[in-house]
């Protein structure tokens, strides 16, 4: 592929047509998400994805360039899988939005490590609506399959402390509300409130009040370390759930997934089916939950993996050719979500995984590159020198 100067002139006109189109899309997509699809052949998904693609191609200048360079434009595409997905690193370089700058009402900071630039994910009202809606609808299916309200204890900083942090924006939508259930936060500006949390868990244990603990994976590691120190273990009331996500991110010691799960089972007295790992990304409206609790509720015996909801799709691609790999083979995860109305519907991640069932499993992030000979790769150099 060669990128030349003689590109067409790009200018986005956000006119009446834009408003009409976004209203139509909003109506159709929200209906689709709220009805949980009901789309066994995926024809509705395909239709909506192609429609959203056309909308985003028309109103997202950078995405239009991106697609033009690949000669994949609306009209030439019949299958959602052909819709160009933008690699997540692009969000660190550019503002990728399918709405005029004046509509922006919110942004999330991507979780750049100390070694990488941070990016911003921009939202207009519609973007915020779909972020909330798709998170809420995913949680309903995978954390509350019985529909029963659980007391929510959250191991993430509350929004007012971290207004632009993805997980703080996502997790409140994972709380099933009723008149009395208000989420309780156990992460503050000084970190995990271990003592308070333990006291609260004790109370719930005594009152036989089932809870859902939701938080960042590394917080659970810290919490269990703290519990070990204090000699505390719980037998949480039946029906209680733990949901964690985000990995260790260098913020706690790293533990093998199976060991981590057994520790949670031991420290909180929960069965495996009630420990639900999730994968969320700032660049992605919607979160992927493991299917275990849903399967438990539906009495299905299936392997544990992350499921696609009706409005999302995941494709595993070869990082060289960007073609889909045969099912079960390892590659990079490419996700599509109809909820990504305000950015782009397809994103290509740095997560390595494989397809399974109607979902996927993550093995890990791509590792840093190292020279196999006597040269030095960029990653090694940055490790050595830090970033300028």
């Amino acid at each position: 592929m060669s990128i030349r100067n003689n590109e067409k002139l790009y200018s986005m006109i956000f006119d009446e047509k834009y408003l009409t189109l976004s209203e139509t899309l909003d109506r159709e997509i929200s209906q689709y998400i709220e009805s949980l699809g009901n789309d066994p052949n995926g024809t509705q998904f395909n239709r909506l994805a192609l429609k959203l693609f056309e909308f985003q191609y028309t109103y997202n200048e950078l995405y239009q360039k991106f697609c033009d360079r690949r000669s994949i434009v609306p009209g030439t595409v019949r299958d959602w899988k052909q819709i160009p997905a933008v690699p997540t690193i692009a969000f660190k370089e550019a503002e990728i939005r399918s709405f005029p700058a004046t509509e922006q009402v919110h942004f999330l900071q991507t979780s750049g490590t100390s070694q990488a630039k941070q990016g911003k994910i921009l939202f207009n009202h519609l973007g915020v609506k779909y972020w909330k809606l798709s998170n809420r609808m995913s949680a309903q299916q995978y954390l509350y399959p019985s529909g029963k309200v659980l007391r929510a204890l959250l191991l993430v900083p509350p929004l007012e402390l971290a207004p632009n942090l993805g997980i703080s924006n996502a997790v409140p939508n994972f709380v099933l509300r009723d008149a009395t259930n208000r989420p309780e936060y156990f992460m503050g500006s000084t970190g995990l409130k271990g003592q308070q949390l333990i006291a609260r868990l004790k109370e719930c244990e005594i009152n036989n009040d089932p809870v859902i603990l939701i938080g960042a994976t590394f917080c659970f590691v810290h919490l269990m370390d703290y519990m070990k120190e204090k000699g505390k273990i719980f037998r949480l009331p039946p029906g209680s759930v733990i949901s964690d996500g985000g990995g260790f991110k260098g913020k706690s010691r790293e533990i093998e997934k199976s060991e981590y799960q057994s520790m949670l089972m031991e420290y909180f007295g929960l069965p495996q089916s009630h420990i639900v790992n999730m994968l969320g990304m700032t660049e992605f409206s919607g979160v992927f939950f493991e299917n275990v609790l849903k399967n438990y509720h539906e009495r299905k015996s299936l392997p544990r993996f992350k499921e696609n909801t009706a409005w999302t799709r995941t494709v595993v691609v070869d990082p060289d050719t960007l073609e889909e790999v045969p099912k079960g083979q390892i590659g990079l995860l490419k996700h599509y979500s109809l909820g990504n109305i305000s950015t782009v519907l397809g994103i290509l991640t740095d997560d390595v995984g494989y397809a399974i069932g109607n979902g996927f499993e993550v093995i890990g992030r791509v590792s840093k590159t190292e020279s196999r000979g006597c040269s030095i790769s960029l990653d090694e150099f940055i490790n050595k020198k830090g970033i300028k």
Binding site: M1, S2, I3, R4, N5, L62, K65, F66, R69, V86, P87, I89, A90, K92, E93, A94, D318, P319, D320, T321, L322, E323, I330, G331, L332, L348, D350, V352, V366, S367, K368, T369, S371, R372, G373, C374, S375, I376, S377, L378, D379, E380, F381, K384, K385, K388
Partner: protein, 475 residues
């Protein structure tokens, strides 16, 4: 059967326990069988090495040693040579290079260590090769002089560029030292095959080599190896080199080759006509593609001086065409997911940067990560993510380069130039001050001459101890 014994150890050392190093690529696999060694076993190995050295190598005339090495590398020229066929079959899986790239690098090794090249290497460092064999009258010092190599050298190899272990072992033989080599876990095969080809031509000589693999840093083994070596060669990252150097007594000669960075320089004068510009692009493509940029001699950046008829962007485009041509002749190797993903990240980053700055352009192979050329006006040196991804950076004047490579000063190595001869000296002087150790013609970066001062040193002289015999000159 894809399991091979990857060790070359004295027959009398009994091996009882083995482990397997596994290598997988998309279409094949390779298992290297490696003995589990202990300090005690290494001690036995060293006893045998020293014994064989005393019986043969120490007394052998240098010309015999040179002839044997030359004969051994000549075997590798034959495409049907047994070990060459083994190397061509398995090295792609082990090292990640394409088969064609392996063939090319074996050819280079065969050429580099022929008699004539070896004699040039010796003469360029000693002047008089007989200094290694006998006392020689040295007029300026007014005494007799003789060179003594270490009795035993331990080599810690790293990485997958086959030429380096060969050169290291050959240097040891040329100063009549026995060698204990630790192969890199990334490439445990070629040094073994090389030693076996020496066995084919001169078993007395090869009896002074022992090569195997152990886990780098193994206290027990390395305590024995290092305490009995007079010199240690180490190749590898800063981390490897520091950890080896900490374990050595101060009396041990320590010769280390850390990982290095190289770049190319293209003067405006070669971009004034289409033929010369195209030819320069072709040469740049060779250097940026050979060894898939894994070698220290491989350029990461091409600095292009503006002011010629062809712009740096046009040069980048020509380079991209030549990268494709090279790829068709000598394909890049298969990559692990992380390396392909790194290329994808780099391309994406620059593609999006380029959407708001038309000076930034990405040229890349279609539907593959085979090669990438990025035209980037931000011309401060940045290492590449390797595997044939090269940046073309415009500069106003070649003398700006020293400032632009300041961030990598301590890792500088080769600079390939395409500039008029009269401009080379001034640039060379400035680069030499900064630590560059080789300025060569663009297009030859990948094949330094056998007699090169690798990383600015003379490998044979580094090993030598001199004896001055102060007596009158014999009549």
């Amino acid at each position: 059967m894809n399991t091979l014994d990857c060790y070359f150890l004295p027959k009398n050392v009994e091996l009882t326990e083995f482990r397997i190093l596994k290598f997988e690529s998309r279409n094949s696999s390779f298992h290297a069988r490696i003995p589990v060694l202990t300090g005690e076993k290494i001690s036995e190995v060293i006893d045998s090495l020293l014994d064989c050295r005393e019986r043969y190598l120490e007394k052998a005339p240098l010309s015999d040693i040179v002839d044997s090495i030359s004969a051994a590398v000549s075997l590798w020229e034959n495409p049907n040579y047994e070990y060459r066929k083994v190397a061509e079959k398995f090295l792609p899986t082990i090292s990640g290079f394409s088969r064609k790239m392996i063939e090319e690098s074996l050819d280079l090794i065969a050429k580099a260590f022929k008699k004539e090249e070896l004699m040039t290497l010796i003469k360029s460092q000693f002047g008089d090769p007989l200094l290694i064999d006998e006392f020689r009258w040295t007029k300026d010092a007014n005494c007799y002089r003789r060179a003594f190599g270490p009795s035993l050298i331990t080599h810690i190899f790293s990485g997958n560029v086959a030429g380096l272990p060969a050169q290291s072992l050959i240097c040891a033989l040329l100063v009549k030292s026995a060698s204990l080599g630790k192969t890199a876990s990334e490439e445990p095969l070629f040094p073994i095959l090389f030693a076996r080809s020496l066995f084919d031509v001169n078993p007395d000589l090869s009896a002074c080599l022992a090569i195997s693999n152990w886990k780098g840093g193994d206290e027990e083994i390395e305590n024995v190896a290092f305490s009995r070596s007079e010199a240690v060669f180490a190749y590898g990252s800063d981390r490897t080199i520091n950890s080896v150097s900490k374990k050595l007594k101060s009396s041990v000669r320590f010769v280390s080759y850390g990982h290095k960075l190289s770049f190319g320089v293209i003067g405006k004068e070669v971009l004034n006509d289409a033929i010369s510009a195209r030819e320069t692009a072709r040469k740049a493509a060779i250097d940026a593609s050979f060894f898939d940029q894994q070698g220290c001699v491989c350029p990461h950046v091409m600095f292009v001086e503006i002011g010629g008829k062809f712009s740096s962007i046009q040069f980048a485009e020509m380079l991209s065409q030549e990268m494709e041509n090279f790829h068709r002749q000598i394909p890049r190797g298969e990559l692990p997911i992380s390396d392909s993903a790194a290329i994808l990240r780099l391309r994406t980053t620059f593609e999006f940067k380029g959407m708001v700055n038309e000076e930034i352009q990405v040229f890349s192979s279609t539907k593959s990560s085979d090669w990438t050329v990025i035209h980037d006006p931000d011309n401060v040196f940045q290492p590449s993510c390797l595997n044939r991804t090269v940046r073309v950076c415009p500069i106003n004047d070649i003398l700006e380069i020293p400032t632009l490579v300041l961030p990598i000063q301590e890792n500088l190595q080769s600079v390939g130039v395409a500039i008029l001869p009269e401009r080379v000296d001034e640039l060379g002087l400035q680069l030499g001050r900064m630590g560059v150790s080789r300025v060569c013609q663009l297009g030859t970066m990948y094949r330094p001459p056998t007699a090169w001062c690798h990383d600015g040193r003379m490998p044979l002289l580094d090993l030598i101890r001199w004896l001055d015999l102060e007596r009158k000159q014999s009549e």
